[in-house]
Every structure is written in C-alpha cells, then in structure tokens.
C-alpha cells in the first residue's frame, strides 16, 4: 500500500509516543489485538486545557500516523474545542485511502474517550475538593 508523505514522516519520526501517569490523566483505548489494531490515547487535563497528550498503538502505519496526529492536535488544545475532532479531518490530513479510514475513526474515538475520561476525573477531583 502506498502512503502519503505525511504518514511516512510520522512513522519514521515518532513523536508523542508514551504513557502518562498521575492525577487528571484520561485514557481512551479502542480496538483489540484480535482485530489487529489497538489505539490508546492519553491526555493530562490542567484546568480547561489539555496539558499533554501521548499515544500507543498496535497496528499499521496508518494507525500510528492517525494516533500521532490526534495526540498532536489534542496536545495543548482547549478541552471544549478538542471535542470537535473528526475522523474526516484525520483522513484528509493524512490522505488515507478509504480502506484505512477505519483506523482514523479508531484514533479519534480513542482521543474523545480520553477527553471524556479526563473530564470525569476533573469533575471528580473538583468534587473531592
């Protein structure tokens, strides 16, 4: 399969790979190893912003590039605006072929889940205060 230069660049120069730990870290994980692709995105919320975003992926280049793009977009974004993330934007930015669009959807879903999770955590920690 031929990929766009943007996908190649992201796979060959990996950024925002890793794991976040501690308070206010939300985690979103989508997919199973059986299906061949697992995307995990984590965000650390600070106030109304995402202070950091990291990803882990088991899957193809398109999955790695999609997760890396979603993590890049989330990193530093306002939490309220970050929810407007769509898989169409990922597909367009990475110029993915239709057969790979599902991994973009998985990455976006993982990102949104991570945001929702962090929001829950933030609400909880507010309540605790």
């Amino acid at each position: 399969m031929k990929y766009s230069d943007e996908v190649l660049r992201r796979v060959q120069h990996l950024e925002r790979v890793g794991v976040l730990e501690g308070a206010n870290v939300g985690t979103g994980e989508v997919g199973t190893l059986d299906e061949g692709t697992v995307v995990r995105i984590q965000v650390r919320a600070e106030g109304d912003r995402v202070a950091a975003a990291r990803f882990k992926v088991f899957g193809c280049s398109a999955a790695i590039a999609s997760a890396s793009l979603v993590a890049e977009w989330l990193d530093g974004a306002a939490i309220d605006e970050a929810g407007s993330l769509t898989s169409e934007r990922v597909v367009q930015h990475l110029d993915l072929v239709p057969e790979r669009a599902h991994v973009a959807r998985m990455a976006v879903e993982a990102g949104l889940k991570a945001l929702a999770d962090s929001r829950g955590l933030t609400a909880e920690s507010r309540e605790q205060k």
Partner: protein, 380 residues
C-alpha cells in the same frame, strides 16, 4: 535504497538487457512468419532461448512452452490438466501454495472438482505421507511448489512425485522461486508440469514458461488461436522477452554454484546480525531445506506493515507482495497467531546485494524494531 526483496522481483541483468535490445527494432520479426528472414531470425532466437531454459531445468527442449508469466503457466497446467482428464474429479494441493495456484484450484472447486488441501508442518515442509494419503485413483493432479515464495522452504518433490504417480496422478510444481537459485531438474524431481518466470531470475517481466513432459502428459490449451507453442498456447510470441528469459536462464545456470554460496553467506550474515541485536525474533520455516537468499523473520510485539514503512530506505516485504494487510496464509499455516504473522518480514538477498548493504539493513531493522516496540508496547 537497499533492495532486499529479490523474491518479489529482480532487476534485469545488463547482459540480459543487451541480448534483448535487437529484437525490439532491427530483428522485430514475428517468430511465426515462415516466409522470410525476419521471421526465421525471430524463430531461431526463440528456439535458442527455449534450449537455454530447457538446459536450466534439465528438460527436453520441445517440452518448454512459453507463456506470459508464471501465473499463466500455473493456470495452463491446472486447467489444462483437468480439461484433459475428465475421467478423474479430484485435485490435491498444499495450504502454503502461491495464490496463482490456490485461486485457479478454487475455481475448479466451484466447477465441481473435489479438492484436498494438505497442511504443512511447523517448519513449513509438506509430509509426503500426507500427500500419499490424499491421492486416490480419482486424482487428476497434485500441485506442490518447489520453493515457497514467502519462507523459502524447499518441498520434498521427488517423494511427492512418487506418491502422485503411484495412483496415476500428474505432478505440477510452481518452480518460480527455485529455478536458477537451487539445482532444479525435472527428471531428478520426476515432475510432469512445472511453472517458471523470467523476472525472478534477472530476466524481464511478462514472460514465463510451462514445462510439459509430453511423453507422459497431454494438457488442453486454455488460449486458442493459431496453434503456437505446439497448440498449447496460442498468441504471437514475445520474442524480446523470451530471448531475455533464455539469456537469464543461461546466466543462472553457469553462475548458480558461486552465486548461491555468496548469497547464502550474506543471508546468514543478516540472520546472525538480527539474532544478536534484536530480542524476541523467530525465523519462519526450516533453515536447511531453504532457498539461499531467503530469510523470513517474525518480530514479537511489532506490526509488520508498520515495520516496512518505518524501514524507509530498506526495501523488504511483509508476506507476499500482492496481499498485504491480511495476515500471510503461509505463516498462519505454520501455526502462528495472526499477531505474529502480521509482524513478519521477508528478506530476499540477491545478485547485487553487498555485505555493506546487509550490515546497514540489519542495523536499521534493529533500530526501527526498538523504536516501534516503544510505540506498540502497552506499558511504559
């Protein structure tokens, strides 16, 4: 770029290209034109090439039928056999065959033929007794490849031939990967039909051949129209391609002993380097009964396709070139999980490969696997 995908295709050897060039322009004749020198020259060139290909495989010259490639040769062997043997209704093949054999056989099954697909052992080799058990007096054809295109293992063809012939079945072998790389002799293997391709042995794409042991078997043509190639394959011959195939076969035959040894040493150098620098790797397929240039390795905890992309300037392949994204049916047949099958690379060392390229590729693979494992590992 480092090219380590010589099982997918090979560059045309400069000597091969040189032999072909006159047949595009000054010697452009149709090999079937019997009335003038243009045709005679083209026909002479084709017959010289036929002899060169026959010599590579130990065949009688008349038993070589030129085709557009190995896929056509496989189709002609399989469909040509069943159209000629209507008194039988059964075909036997092996689970790790190339799609160019499995797909035509699947077509036969749709048309009502019974098909038995024999499994392989974990080392990728067929147990001849399994073939013997599958073959009956109703079996028209057994088709087993000589060397596997993904893992490079060499099947015990002679024993399989004996099992097929014991019940009157014919043996076809897809010998595309074996011919020119390891000694392959149609009499020593006792095969009835064998498929070959020029572009796997430093010849041009778009030309191949089917060996037909005409003293024993008669197949039905699949392309009619003029009766070329003794009626088995009509159509104007691809004279430049055939000339190139002949020259490539001749070079492969004379250079094989030295080249096979050189390539084997480079393959072993790659194998040793990966074993000593990368943890969690598995070599797929038997290491002894194997093509000299082939190394197929699974990397635990990595996606093979992502590996390919991250390797960037090292061209290798994950499974067969035509069916990426799905786990390799060959690796799955060895009993691997889908995850491991997807995390595999095929390295194909060839005529132009240097030791420096092997060292570069090994270091690059080690580095990329380390970085990707960092991305893929679920823990920190």
């Amino acid at each position: 770029m480092v090219y380590l995908d010589h099982h997918a295709t090979t560059p045309v050897d400069a000597r091969v290209l040189e032999s072909m060039l006159p047949f595009f322009s000054e010697k452009f004749g149709n090999a079937a034109s019997r009335q003038h020198r243009f045709g005679w020259d083209a026909n002479d060139a084709v017959e010289r090439a036929r002899k060169q290909v026959a010599q590579l495989i130990g065949a009688a010259t008349k038993d070589v039928v030129f085709t557009s490639g190995a896929t056509e040769a496989n189709n002609l062997a399989i469909k040509g056999t069943v159209s000629a043997r209507r008194d039988r209704d059964h075909v036997v093949t092996v689970i790790t065959e190339h799609k160019a054999v499995l797909d035509p056989i699947a077509r036969l099954e749709q048309d009502g033929w019974r098909v038995t697909v024999v499994p392989v052992r974990r080392d990728g080799l067929v147990e001849p007794a399994d073939v013997a058990n599958a073959v009956t007096e109703r079996t028209a054809l057994v088709s087993v490849m000589a060397a596997n295109n993904e893992i490079g293992v060499l099947q015990p063809l002679r024993q399989i031939a004996d099992a097929a012939h014991a019940k009157g079945a014919w043996l076809h072998t897809d010998a595309v990967q074996a011919a020119g790389k390891v000694p392959f002799d149609v009499d020593a293997m006792d095969v009835d039909l064998a498929s070959f391709s020029a572009h796997k042995v430093y010849g041009p794409k778009g030309v191949g051949a089917l060996y037909v042991r005409r003293k024993r078997v008669a197949i039905g043509a699949q392309i009619d129209g003029g009766g070329h190639e003794r009626g088995m394959r009509s159509g104007t011959l691809n004279v430049p391609g055939i000339v190139g195939f002949g020259r490539a076969a001749e070079i492969a035959r004379t250079d094989m002993p030295a080249e096979a040894e050189r390539v084997r040493l480079l393959r072993n150098r790659l194998h040793d380097a990966l074993q000593s620098t990368v943890s969690g790797i598995t070599v797929n397929g038997d290491l002894d009964a194997r093509l000299p240039g082939c190394l197929n390795v699974s990397f635990d905890g990595v996606d093979g396709e992502a590996l390919l992309v991250a390797l960037d300037d090292v061209a290798v392949s994950s499974g067969a070139a035509c069916t990426q994204a799905e786990p390799s049916h060959v690796l799955m047949a060895l009993g691997h999980t889908k995850e491991r099958a997807l995390a595999s690379l095929r390295f194909g060392v060839g005529r132009s490969t240097t030791a420096a390229e092997i060292d570069y590729a090994a270091a690059k693979v080690a580095d990329v696997v380390k970085r990707l494992r960092e991305v893929l590992r679920r823990s920190a």
